[in-house]
Amino acid sequence: MVRALGFATLAAALLAHAAPQDKDREKLRKALEYARKIDSALKGRKDASPPASDAEFLRRVHLDLVGTIPTLAETRAFLEDGSPTKRQDLIEKLLASEAHADLWARQWCFVLFGNYYEIRANVGGKNVSPRAIRRAFEEFRKWFRDHLAKDTPWSAIVAELVQATGKLSANPVLLYKTSFYYEGDASLNGADGMSKSLLGMRISCARCHDHPFDRWTQEDYYGLAAFLVRMKGMASSGGGMMMKPDNDNETVDVEFVEEPKGELTMPMTSKVLKPKFLFGGVAGSTEARLPALARFMVMRENSQLPRNVVNRTWSWLMGRGFVEPVDDFHMQNKPVFGSLLEDLTRGFTANGASIRFLLRAICNSEAYQRSCAGDATEPFATAAIRQLTGEQLFKSLVTACTGGDAPDWTAKAVRDAWGDFLNQVRPLYGADGEWTEVTPLPGNTRQALLLRNGGFVENLVKADWGLSGKVRAMSGSPGERISRIFLAVLVRPPTEPELARYAAFVNGQGGSREAYEDVIWTLVNSAEFVTRH
């Protein structure tokens, strides 16, 4: 059989069946090249913080990539591992996990929708049923999660978002467009929304006049909106869905079509605006406009699409973007380390518009792996300190107070506890806060009271089945028990002074159960626990 095949064909056949590890290794190698570029661009600052310890890195990368601290078991394994590539291997492991795709999909959903528990829409005078929206959102986030898990090129995801038509019930991707149908004209809301979330630009000033400090004119604004003017969302009766509207003013489905006719006239004039993309690209006169818009969004010449992804991803990991605010790119808003931003943007595009490429490059850099201690005020010279998000706080509390292996996040008791916790966390943001479980908590007085005096934390701290019980049951000195508590809660061993202080405390209380509970309580309430650093 082998003789019948040419050598080249055989080689091709072998490569096609190349082990997935080889492809991954190649991708990793490319990403590590860019990690070096990052470090090269950021080197030489005298006040840069020293490298983070293994413990600091471990906790941080877990919180960032999978939304929780590691378990006690994982912490011990990592700290004791002697492999020189352990950090890189950990990053790969986390990136491949379900938890990662799930978390980062929701982060992007927040970019697209804001508070995605409060998406509202009104089509043809009817409110879109909140139940229908909730169901569509569940499907939308799973669609996004699956793409992240497969590392689908970003351009493919954006193209789907922009050109989708049909019924919301059949295609949950349409939820994005549905969200434009609220308070105001949908094509204008769509122009605003797409610029903000996909391009990182606020152009709504240009609705009324040429943008005061950026290059966009009113014509540019309406030229963009013109791509959407033929898009029409209509109330529909819900195809295969078994939902019924609650009243006559409600619809359970929305159908999107692109009409063959319809033009956008600039307000206060009779000027008809042809669809023209912000970064070049005019739709042909007989071309369907939504696919044309998709084409221009993802074309090579539109570097703002990848630049926006790079900037946001960087800001999530490094504490601030190259450009801040991250949705406010404009001419006067100069980036810091602009040439690094351009390098990464080119790299992102050259490597399949892959989010995973970006995450590998950034997380493997020395810049990401700096300590948070230090006086540096310059950007990216020290690791960012942030309030934990609601999800990070909940999962970290439960993980810490379990004090062993991973909690079962799907267990009913845990899901119920999560629901309760969210209900207590919601009011912390105030009546008007734009928040979800993936936004940093406000870190305010009410939050401090919730953690110090609230029943949820108290019950976790005391739990017999958890860390408290395990510490009591284990054999060993007070020092060994305290070390276990530190590893479980703060993901690091105690320092000598800490060991002395807590041993003295515990011994002063006769090694009582309450004393150990108080140690756990103290650590989960500490600044070190409630922040990402």
Binding site: C208, F213, G374, A431, G443, N444, T445, L450, G454, T522
Partner: protein
């Protein structure tokens, strides 16, 4: 079409000035911000209670009745304790208090959508590209409070306040969800001695961590932790306890809205500078009259009792009371016996802290369709608020490198003082 993105017509030059100031401002940022934070010295601090009417309350059916006219609708007008001022028949207790408050009937604005209108009426600015303009509560809290005051200095109840971190954590609204349990999680779940031991351990643990870590997140957490501790132990906490009020008083104030008004009075009594209380449901596109009648009964009990108490306790002198929503409602009644959104001419009410009572500012025509005299803009409304609180309306804060005035070129309504 009016420019919905900007509060007032803005030309390129004005914005360029903004940006030039901004570019320089960015260099001097911390100094300018520090200047903006110097509170003006005063002998006696004032307070403000804002009653927020979500939905856009109908002016013709409350403060600017048109008896005998088709647009006047189903309600009659009653005389009040203020000469020449008539209001809706469904606000009798407020009618008795009328000589203590004043009505502006000629407010004119341009934001007819709920969220935008609410933003405008809270901050004085239309929402612009996500810039966090400071709502009046945050400014008042910043200007009027002492740094060491143990209670929250901006309390909000059932109101959608725009959040602005511009003056720091302390001046964001502290939300009260339930008047009967206003501050959840106040009591430790363990005995006092044990709580004390825990507090000591926590303080030491945090000190060590904070030594090497600067930055605003650590600062914020440090402040919240301290504030939580203060709140748990201050005797002023009794102000939050409504059970200390006699039953007769609680009954007079009425339902939950009224109880929140009562709580607001207690809070300003002990020195909280700004309290906002919301009463929603005013978006009466259909069945306007029945709904407004019900809302008016609740409003009359709560607001009426509040005015009475503030007068009797000699608090009105130093307490500014504001009543407003996001816009008014159409004079012409629609097919659903309702009224729709209306920004051209509508009413707000102001009282206390130097504002003379019993006055009517501005007039609408006999059908409520046009302003007959003395139009008042949102900047004027805000300039009036700040003047009465003893705050300079021209003062500026720095927002993304741009200097923003507390009240954008408004003029205080001199006829009110």
């Amino acid at each position: 079409m009016t420019c919905e993105s900007c509060a007032s017509p803005v030309d390129r030059r004005t914005f360029l000035k903004f940006m030039v100031g901004g570019a320089a401002g960015a260099a001097f940022g911390p100094q300018i911000a520090a200047l903006a934070q110097e509170t003006t010295a005063r002998t006696r601090a004032k307070a403000c209670i804002l009653l927020w009417m979500a939905g856009g309350p109908s002016q013709l059916d409350t403060w600017d009745p048109k008896p005998g006219r088709k647009n006047g609708g189903e309600f009659r007008a009653i005389a009040t304790s203020a000469k020449g001022m008539q209001i809706s028949e469904h606000l009798p207790r407020l009618g008795e208090q009328a000589r203590h408050f004043s009505i502006v009937r000629s407010l004119t604005t341009g934001e007819a959508a709920h969220e935008r209108g609410a933003y405008l009426m809270h901050t004085g600015y239309a929402p612009i590209g996500g810039l966090p303009f400071a709502p009046v509560g945050t400014i008042a809290s910043h200007e009027l409070s002492r740094a060491d005051f143990p209670l929250p200095t901006f309390v909000s109840m059932n109101a959608p306040v725009p959040l602005s971190p511009i003056f720091g954590e302390r001046h964001l609204p502290f939300t009260v969800q339930d008047v009967n349990n206003p501050i959840p999680n106040l009591r430790p779940g363990v005995g006092t001695d044990r709580a004390g031991r825990r507090a000591d351990l926590l303080r030491t643990q945090d000190e060590a961590f904070e030594v090497e870590r600067r930055g605003k997140e650590i600062q914020r957490r440090h402040e919240s932790a301290k504030k939580a501790q203060d709140l748990m132990t201050t005797p002023l906490l009794r102000a939050f306890d409504l059970s200390k009020e006699p039953d007769a008083v609680r009954k007079a104030y009425g339902d939950n809205f009224g109880q929140m008004c009562l709580l607001a009075r207690r809070l300003v009594e002990v020195g909280v500078p700004f309290v906002e209380v919301g009463l929603g449901g005013w978006d009466t596109h259909d069945n306007n009259f029945e709904q407004v009648k019900n809302l008016s009964a609740r409003l009359d009990a709560g607001f009426g009792s509040l005015m009475k108490d503030l007068v009797e306790r000699d608090l009105l002198r130093d307490t500014l009371v504001l009543w407003a929503g996001e816009f008014g409602r159409t004079p012409e009644i629609n097919a659903g016996n309702g009224r729709d959104h209306w920004t051209k001419c509508w009413s707000v009410v102001m009282a206390g802290a130097g504002i003379q009572g019993g006055r009517v500012i501005g007039e609408t025509d006999k059908d409520g369709m046009e302003i007959r005299n003395r139009p008042v803009t949102v900047p004027d409304y805000f300039a009036t608020i700040f003047k009465s609180l003893g705050i300079d309306p021209e003062k500026k804060y720095v927002l993304s490198g741009r200097k923003v005035k507390y009240a954008y070129n408004g003029k205080p309504i001199r006829e009110l003082f």
